[in-house]
């Protein structure tokens, strides 16, 4: 948090300023809603257009916007994106920083205990698996977007490649999950390199568009290559994972029979939970290690300044390709897990919506921050489930929460950057200095 006194004094509460801003908001709302809410049209009994006005509703909405915008302005001046450090008292800050240090180990320990605590609650276990899948996808994309600063809108393509790799290898050749898992990762990494080559010269918006197109191409190929992928019907009967060859089935050769315990379908869910947890932790461990290796530092340097990288003799082409390949490989692992968990995949699971969701997790978490991405995945996937009771207003509440978060924390939940090497003190680097990359 940079304390800038000049900026704060200019933000001092001023009734006229708030009133002016709220009036403008109300005016915009009036223009916007006068047709959307103020006038209601409908086809009459003979097909002609009938309409009636609802000025009362319109007035209520505009008043709500006016009042709401006053409240938001007051709230912003009380809390504000720049002056949190000034308002929060020192003891609270100390407690917050302690909580910040403890949150990762506590969260990890809790995750390990989830199957024990919620053994009977299938819904929570399923949700946990879903959240962990997105944590893993977020960590994978974080390598590309957060570290290397390359905006990738087609990440779902690698997820799809991984899923179909496992599904097709397992159904056609009968290969086991543990052989297919590395193969799925390698194939996805291969496609990552393949995507990387043509887009290396592109930056920023252009890169985003091409990666978006790549994601769509993969999906369309999956739909149209009927003979191989089954087209829109997808692949069914994908084998369930085994515990290194021991199936988790009620049969005599199943794990339950071997251990001499009663079979329960929950065993498989718990196994899947720990499987995705292990995969996600592998992703995290590799990423943390890579950051401290020359390749990881080169990724971050690339995000900071590509020209300077080249002046230092760094081959930016291979550096970008390794970032794409590494991110894609983790996406492929996650895809293989997805296929084995579902037992059925179709192109419908790999739409742009998934790419956008994973990207939102990375951006919301704070680009480059491992803990931030995990928290954001928990909030995005778990939080979304939390609002299930709100039915159609769920998206509204969710969107509002995201807007508020971006006002409060414009660089994501954890925006600062931890240095990869230090002499004496490891001090977080303010997000003001860290670049976002230009693609």
């Amino acid at each position: 948090m940079s304390a800038n006194p000049a900026a704060q004094t200019s933000r001092a509460p001023s009734a006229a300023f708030i009133l002016k801003k709220s009036l403008i908001s109300a005016l915009v709302a009036l223009v916007l809603f006068s047709l959307m809410i103020g006038v209601r049209t409908e086809a009459g009994p003979d097909g002609q257009l009938t309409y009636w006005t609802r000025f009362g509703d319109l007035a209520a909405i505009v008043a709500a916007v006016f009042g709401g915008s006053i409240l938001i302005e007051l709230f912003r001046q009380w809390w504000g994106p720049v002056d949190t450090a000034r308002i929060v008292p020192a003891p609270v800050q100390g407690a917050l920083s302690l909580a910040g240090r403890l949150i990762a180990p506590v969260l990890l320990a809790f995750t390990f205990l989830v199957p024990v605590l919620f053994y009977d609650e299938r819904y929570i276990l399923d949700l946990g698996i879903l959240v962990l899948t997105y944590v893993m996808l977020g960590w994978g994309l974080n390598v590309v977007v957060g570290l290397a600063g390359l905006l990738d809108l087609g990440y779902v393509a690698f997820y799809a490649v991984g899923a179909y790799s496992y599904a097709l290898l397992a159904t056609n050749f009968g290969l086991s999950f543990w052989i297919c898992l590395p193969l799925a990762g390698i194939l996805a990494a291969f496609w990552g390199v393949l995507l990387g080559f043509p887009v290396l010269r592109l930056r920023g918006d252009y890169l985003a568009i091409v990666t978006l197109a790549f994601g769509e191409i993969i999906r369309l190929v999956l739909i149209n290559w009927q003979s191989l992928t089954g087209g829109p019907n997808g692949v069914t009967g994908i084998p369930r994972p085994t515990l290194f060859g021991i199936p988790l089935t009620p049969g005599d050769d199943g794990l339950a029979a071997m251990l001499g315990i009663e079979f329960s379908p929950t065993h498989r869910i718990v196994f899947l939970f720990y499987l995705i947890l292990a995969l996600a932790l592998l992703t995290n461990w590799v990423t943390i290690r890579l950051r401290r290796l020359p390749i990881g530092r080169a990724w971050e340097a690339l995000r900071e300044d590509e020209v300077a990288c080249r002046a230092l003799g760094i081959n930016t082409t291979t550096t970008k390709l390794t970032a794409f390949a590494t991110g894609a490989m983790f996406g492929g692992f996650a895809g293989a897990f997805f296929a084995t968990r579902q037992g059925f995949i179709s192109p419908e699971s790999f739409t742009f919506h998934e790419s956008a969701l994973v990207l939102a997790i990375v951006v919301l978490g704070g680009m480059g921050s491992q803990l931030g991405v995990a928290l954001a995945a928990l909030a995005m996937i778990g939080g979304f489930e939390l609002f299930r009771g709100l039915d159609q207003y769920r998206m509204l509440v969710f969107g509002m929460a995201m807007v508020l978060l971006m006002i409060w924390r414009p660089r994501g939940l954890i925006g600062h950057r931890a240095p990869t090497v230090f002499l004496e003190r490891k001090e977080a680097i303010s997000s003001d200095l860290v670049k976002e990359g230009h693609g």
Partner: protein, 277 residues
Amino acid sequence: MSGDSILSVDRLSMRFGGIVAVNDLSFNAERRKITALIGPNGAGKTTVFNCITGFYKPSSGAIGLTHDDGHAIRLERLDDFRIAKLAKVARTFQNIRLFPGMTALENLMVAQHNALMRASGLTFLGLIGAPSWRTAEQAAIDLATTWLDRIGLLDRADDAAGNLPYGDQRRLEIARAMCTEPALLCLDEPAAGLNARESAALSELLLSIRADQGTSILLIEHDMSVVMEISDHVVVMDHGVKIAEGTPKHIRDDPKVIAAYLGTDEEEAIAVMESGT
């Protein structure tokens, strides 16, 4: 020019569409010497630099670099990063290009990328934490620490580069270039924006780099106090062509150079000089 030259620029031309930025320029830079490239704004100095370091491909001409062991490399054929990696030419930029969100130490570690990539077995040995990698990493940190000490930034090693004062950033950029262990160091206006005391410290640093590392230095500079104090050889450019070269003393008294800087005719410049003395 006789002697042992590390860099020879031969009939270099660079055109951007119809504009001729550099026209038929030839000069040599001697080994373990400081060569200065000076000239008024828009003379084409930075273009020459970008050609030497591969950021531009010259329209015509040759740029040759000869290492200490006699190994000769044609720079105009190489990509920018290969010039830094294989030909060992390091450069700094007119507008500082550090990695602002990384610490000073990290900036110097990135500079040792190629050596560290080899040591980490293209990442794989590093990933499993092999002992050979650990030694190499510690050696890299030691080298970075040495340079931080030399530029007087050891106590700010863990600060973000973007948070350092301007003068420190300039010195850090030079240290970062030196961490690539170059044969030729190209500095684009290293004294720009520095005060007199900082300029003097910079001169000292460059002289010590030449003396201790034996690195040849090519610099573009507008600050004549720095140029005259440390250069062994000065090349003067104007409008893309070389108008003079020689020792600093020789250049100082050259009417053509003064005319170029004052923007007047040669005769007038001579008159100005004579009236001055």
